[in-house]
Amino acid sequence: MEKRTVAGALAFSIVVVFFLFSIFLLHPFGKPGQVQMDDYIITHTQNETGTNNGVTSVVFDYRGFDTLGEATILFSAVAGVLLLFRRVRH
């Protein structure tokens, strides 16, 4: 076997073991431990943002700046693709 494969297998197994260890320390599926931030959002979204959809209120109001970043990412991807294919013309 190649040296690279051995090193990779070893590293992968260590990473898997540690990931599994850490996964079992998280809260179990369906029972989140700390929820103060999300509870605040669910309770106040109708009053503060006037929106019925909690997710939209987070996306555009509470974390609206992230969404601006996300739009920027799409914009830069478009600019990048157009830059790469700029010589492609009829």
Binding site: F29, N53, V55
Partner: protein, 84 residues
Amino acid sequence: MGIEFLIVNILLVILIVIASLVAVLLRDLLAAAIALAAMSLLLSLEFFLLQAPDVAIAQAGVGACLTTAIVIIAIKGTKRMEEE
């Protein structure tokens, strides 16, 4: 939580992992792209079951449709089979 819900979830999640394995292991890239689309669709279904309809719509539109389209376009522009 109902045990049926949990079992359905687990089955879906296992299907997702199998789909991703298939997408990785197939030598035909076009088939791999279709497997990736299947994985995205299953993932979208899982999101829907986990009460995230917003994300499910986005995953179905972006992941299953557009990603597959882009991958297939790229395969068309390059080469279909993975070489040895």
